[in-house]
């Protein structure tokens, strides 16, 4: 899980000094390249599949429970482990919860966590990276060593320590995963800022007396928004996986809170009893969701890299 550590897949593979961004001409035609990007994105069948899947899954989790009302709070052992069919399309679990309904409710936690972590890490990481990149010198060095420090420590390991300190609820876990996930965004944005700030148009703003704040908000952030979005989609997927790992290790949010990982690890206890409906529905929707966000992220990255389009 989450082996894709630095920059969450946004492959800034070129050596440290090579500018990761695209060459100058595209910047001049910024609006045109955005349209081109959207067009390339729309042409990519995998990207559209990803978007379609996310829309379907979000609708399933958030609109589904309005149409299909089930009890997901009180345990009813009279109806536990019922096979799928009839009144229970996906059966019931060990506590007598309707599995189909539980997938919807569990998905809400997983998706809420994913989106919340993704938004929070993007904002924090962007500001941090922009400040470090623009400040340069000692400030930059200290800020980046802090990032390196946390990147050197395994996220899952730190999470396991921190849930020992803070009793886990969904919100605490969101905060903890956020606290450990903004680092790669910060590094990416700093890298972008370092290349962008040497560009003529940024120098021109400075020469005309534009403030640093203006440079950051009007030029640097809009021009790095691509890598930020790519990273944000990967972060959603990774956060959902972290939550599922925590739930599997028994350190996730306590009941009645439920997420797909919790359902899955609960179902895996019965893997060898033939209760397949406790394992595969949760596994499939979890995998589909993570794959969908990864497909979207990958496609945005491909369409951002305008250099590839000219080949």
């Amino acid at each position: 899980m989450a082996v894709r550590e630095p920059g969450a897949g946004a492959l800034a593979v070129p050596g440290p000094d090579e500018p990761a961004g695209s060459p100058a001409p595209e910047v001049a035609a910024a609006r045109g390249s955005w349209r081109l990007m959207l067009a390339t994105f729309a042409e990519n069948p995998l990207a559209l599949a990803g978007v379609g899947l996310v829309v379907l899954i979000v609708a399933f989790c958030f609109i589904g429970p309005l149409l299909y009302k089930t009890n997901q709070v009180t345990v009813n052992l009279n109806i536990n482990n019922i096979r799928p069919g009839g009144k229970y399309p996906l059966g019931t679990d060990n506590d007598g919860f309707n599995v189909l309904g539980r997938l919807m409710v569990g998905g809400q936690s997983s998706l809420e966590l994913g989106f919340a972590v993704s938004i929070a890490t993007s904002v924090i990481g962007t500001l941090y990276g922009a400040i470090a990149g623009l400040a340069g010198g000692l400030v930059d060095a200290v800020m980046m060593r802090i990032v390196d420090t946390f990147l050197a420590l395994p996220t899952l390991v730190l999470l396991l320590i921190l849930v020992n300190v803070f009793p886990p609820s969904l919100w605490v876990i969101i905060l903890l995963i956020t606290a450990l996930s903004w680092l790669s965004v910060a590094r990416l944005v700093r890298g972008e800022v370092l290349t962008l700030r040497e560009r003529e148009y940024v120098q021109a703003v400075r020469a005309m007396g534009g403030s640093s704040w203006r440079i950051v908000t009007r030029h640097l952030i809009p021009n790095s928004v691509g890598v930020i979005i790519v990273n944000a989609t990967f972060t959603i997927a990774d956060a959902i996986l972290y939550l599922s790992a925590l739930s599997f290790l028994g350190l996730g949010p306590p009941p009645p809170e439920v997420d797909w990982g919790g359902m899955l690890s609960n179902g895996l206890d019965f893997l060898f009893d033939g209760y397949w409906w406790l394992v595969y529905p949760a596994a499939i929707i979890l995998i589909l969701t993570v794959v969908a966000f990864n497909l979207i992220g990958d496609a945005i990255r491909d369409s951002l890299d305008v250099r590839l389009q000219r080949r």
Partner: protein
């Protein structure tokens, strides 16, 4: 080059100090206190005071940090009260097994991922590329524990080919003498790593394939196989291999889960058991160890990169 080396080593030292500060802060975030953890919940205030004085816990934080750093340099990573052993001894016992497990699976992953990524790059956006992309995305999206348990269900329960777990007393020699128990954990960790390494390799190879020198090689009539071996393989794998240094933390994260599922007696299992028993000395001692190992790993990778790649000329960053 020398300037780069000095700066890079300086950065590594700064990060190691950062890691020590983080673990030191986490020690002080331990719920209750170290004294209560050691003496039990019924300890009297008097005994706690004696304990605190004996271990210097009543001194200013700054002095305590100094003591902490000095102890680390003496090889003292703390004492586990639940296991009644020094943390360094526990790590020493388990580390060799992890080197076998994680070393084998990471090397295998690299050996599979590099050809796979190049193959995908050559067949970019063709059916085979899409299929392999689908496979690696699915593997990446699959929680490690699910993959591990499905492998157990298939190979251990269904076919009885391989044992589902590792005897917890096995030494490294025992592991190597009877490697059957290693197969499933190694497959799990390999597949998880292949999923992400091959993505990196694919992008890196696509980048290389678009370079001018590839076109030159093609137009002078060089056979495709030679182009792939001499130019694409060499140039595209370098960044990917250095990247592996940075993935050490997540490899360890995967090891925690895989070792829990297979009951593999490595550092991951030690760590997981410590997390469920609130054994902070083990948690922080091994975190510190992993942090320092990661810093050392990525430092070595960067130096190797700078030494091997003649294009790299590091100026001021």
């Amino acid at each position: 080059m020398t300037g780069y080396l000095v700066r890079r080593v300086g950065q590594a030292i700064a990060v190691v100090i950062g890691v020590m500060i983080v673990t030191f802060i986490l020690i002080h975030m331990e719920p209750g206190s170290a004294a209560r953890a050691a003496l039990g919940a019924k300890a009297t205030t008097g005994r706690i005071a004696i304990f605190n004085r004996a271990y210097g816990l009543n001194q200013p934080l700054w002095d305590q940090f100094g003591t902490y750093v000095r102890q680390i340099f003496e090889g003292n990573l703390g004492y586990s009260y639940t296991q009644q052993q020094p943390v360094s001894t526990l790590i020493e016992q388990r580390l060799p097994r992890d080197i076998v497990l994680l070393g084998t699976s990471t090397v295998l992953a690299v050996l599979i991922a590099i050809p796979m990524g190049i193959f995908q790059a050559v067949r970019r956006n063709k059916a085979t590329d899409f299929t392999l992309t689908g496979v690696s995305f699915t593997l990446y999206a699959m929680p490690d524990y699910l993959l591990a348990l499905l492998l157990i269900a298939l190979f251990a329960v269904q076919f009885h080919w391989l044992p589902p777990n590792v005897p917890s007393t096995t030494s490294v020699g025992g592991l190597l003498a009877d490697p059957k128990a290693l197969v499933l954990p190694v497959i799990t960790l390999t597949l998880v790593s292949v999923a992400s390494f091959s993505r990196y390799q694919r992008s890196s190879a696509i980048e290389v394939l678009a370079q001018e020198y590839i076109r030159v090689a093609r137009s002078k009539g060089m056979p495709s196989r030679l182009i792939l071996l001499r130019h694409v393989l060499r140039n595209s794998m370098l960044p990917v291999v250095t990247l592996i240094g940075l993935t050490i933390p997540s490899i360890i994260g995967g090891a925690v889960i895989a070792e829990e599922v297979f009951n593999f007696p490595g550092m991951g299992l030690l760590f997981f058991q410590a997390a469920t028993m609130h054994d902070f000395p083990i948690l922080l001692g091994s975190t510190l160890f992993v942090g320092v190992a990661t810093v050392a790993g990525s430092l070595l990778a960067d130096i190797a990169y700078a030494a091997l790649d003649p294009r790299v000329r590091y100026g001021r960053t």
